[in-house]
Amino acid sequence: MRPSQAGLRTRAADAVFLLREAAYWLASLGILVAGIVLLPFLSLGIGLYALPGVLGTLDLLAARAQGRSAGFAGAVIPFDRRRLRGRYSFGELASLVTAPETKRDLSWLLFNAAFALVAGVLALALPLGALLYLVVSPLWLLFPADAPLEMTITITSWPAAFLGMLLGVAYAVLAWLLLPWMARRLSEGTLAILSPRRYDELSRRIQDLSAARASALAAHAAELRRIERELHDGAQNRLVGVVMMLGLAQRAAETDPAAAVPFLERAQDAASEALAGLRAAVHDIYPPVLDELGLGGAASALTSRSPIPCSLDVAGLLRAPAAVESAAYFVLAEALTNAAKHSGASRIEVVLRTESTSREDVLVVEVTDDGRGGAAVAPAGGVGVAAAGADTGAGTGAGAARRGADGTLHTAGAGSFGAAGGDSDLGTGAGAVAAAVDVGTGDAGSGTGLAGIARRAAAFGGRLVLSSPRGGPTKVRVELPCAF
């Protein structure tokens, strides 16, 4: 075994890791002591007040340790770990204490308290000892005879010095072998204890999939309702109008044929409107251009038609389910129309790409213009189907979206994934959460513009993030999960 430079480097990293763990060990010890001290008080009830603090600190320490170990081992943490913050009710505390995460944290605490210091001390002592014996032993001659160099052995002769140096070599060999082993055991142990077991992993995966499936069904139902509304309000009513006007014309013709003409004209107009409505509805169900060119091609057809010069980047775009591509297509079309109508921009940048997370792929549509900014999502008319749960009031779509202080607006989808929503910035900033997104029951006219975009994104469990400070630029970002 020859000490190579690479070998030295990894051992230096091992030593640094072990020393850092030993430094944090003090915190582990503190929380362990605090926990043990707290135990009798818990049964008295007073301890309950301190419990969130202790659990929170433990959670923080364990999360940090997991992060350090993962960083050291180059491992990927399979799922975001639970983080504790805020206040908890008594019931929540009870479930918190018995949660598998808490049990894992406690196991880790014992593991860490038992081994981290020993490992850290060894990581420091072994190399230092090696260095000391190897460097100092040959210097025994410098010590006066009445106060000789005393280490484990008293060195008063060259053979003794040689023995001392041999001890140094032994320390060095021990350090060389032990450091990587200890570092590996400590990091792997930490990760193994803190990572969810296979069973938890699978059950969480199933939960995620169930949520995705439910939101897919909800999106499907919402889409059907939207199409039904569109056909009912558009073509169906117009055709009733045609029949009505023809009836009136017939009635008028009985007495004066000339009097029938205005009714016939109105019948014709209504028939044309019905046709236009049908055409739009059919196109809305699935634009033929998507089938022919795919989303990238269809997007380039849209951008080339834009009256404002428009760049398009589809380099990171993967294929997505037809319904999602179709939604993205309409979002882009509406965003471009919106920008052309209101922004006064001279350039538009469009980026379509697929962003992959550990959970799912998300199709992202980003439309940025250099216009005057100040855009806002119009409150939805009619009955809002609440998304974030707060503003469900029937018949009051008003105040559907609130703007944050930074001019950033979020709307969450009705079917947005609990987990995906929970770890995002939704629900954190005071005014940054939007609530009601009208799903298919608003005014006939609100199908356009940003409200329409938000609605369409919501129907797919996605969301609209609008950043439009006064003076520009305006960035419309729509995320559509491809989970279905």
Binding site: R229, H232, D233, Q236, N237, R238, L239, V240, G241, V243, M244, M245, L246, G247, L248, Q250, R251, A252, A270, G382, V383, A394, G395, T441
Partner: protein
């Protein structure tokens, strides 16, 4: 005759007003939703209401609920409910509020202006008008053992016309047979359905519908 209108589609509302005025009705008020009509309604100022079923804010059955509300304020206030599609449960609910002066028609029936106006007059006079589609739906739900199934196609047709509120003369004209033949058919129908024959127009409809929805 003074008529109230609630219809959310502007073109159809204007068309209805035009049509009714042209046929000698007075339009006492028209609204684009049911709530405003209910708020403005004063007993004695109108003789009938024409209501679209699906209107803001929820676009489900506002018109139907408004019809029931009107009839709870003024018993047997004549209402003619229009809808893009018929739902026999709605018909049943309407008839549940008393069968005098209710009508339930598909929207497109307004195209036959004469028939539509006749239907509105019959409703305003306390008659009952059900769309043939409603009758067809109710029929299709009956089981095979049902006496309704024992009707001949001609008797079926006659019962449908009866349910629409037509008198014997009108039925005779509609299917081009003599009035005697019509009374014979109706006698047969009532016999097969186990109903005592009766002569007045809407009572016959009631009997038929009451039987059908039992």
């Amino acid at each position: 005759m003074r008529v109230l209108i609630a219809e959310d589609d502007a073109l159809l509302r204007a068309g209805l007003e035009l049509l009714l005025k042209g046929e000698g009705f007075e339009v006492a008020g028209s609204w684009n939703n049911a709530d405003d009509l209910l708020a403005a309604f004063e007993p004695g100022t109108a003789d009938a209401a024409v209501l679209d079923v699906r209107m803001p804010p929820t676009f489900t059955n506002e018109g139907l609920r408004a019809a029931l509300e009107l009839r709870s304020r003024v018993p047997d206030f004549p209402v003619l409910v229009l809808s893009a599609y018929v739902e026999d449960r709605y018909a049943t609910r309407l008839l549940g509020s008393g069968a005098q002066g209710v009508g339930y028609l598909l929207k497109e029936r307004v195209g036959k202006v004469g028939d539509f106006v006749d239907a509105l007059r019959r409703v305003a006079d306390g008659g009952t008008v059900m769309d043939p589609e409603v009758i067809a739906q109710l029929f299709s739900r009956r089981s095979n053992q049902d006496p309704i199934r024992s009707l001949t196609p001609r008797e079926f047709e006659v019962l449908g016309l009866v349910a629409e509120g037509l008198g014997n003369t009108a039925i005779a004209q509609a299917i081009s047979v003599s009035e005697t033949a019509v009374s014979k058919h109706i006698g047969n129908i009532f016999a097969k359905l186990g109903l005592a024959p009766s002569d007045t127009g809407h009572r016959r409809v009631l009997a038929a519908l009451a039987y059908l929805r039992s």
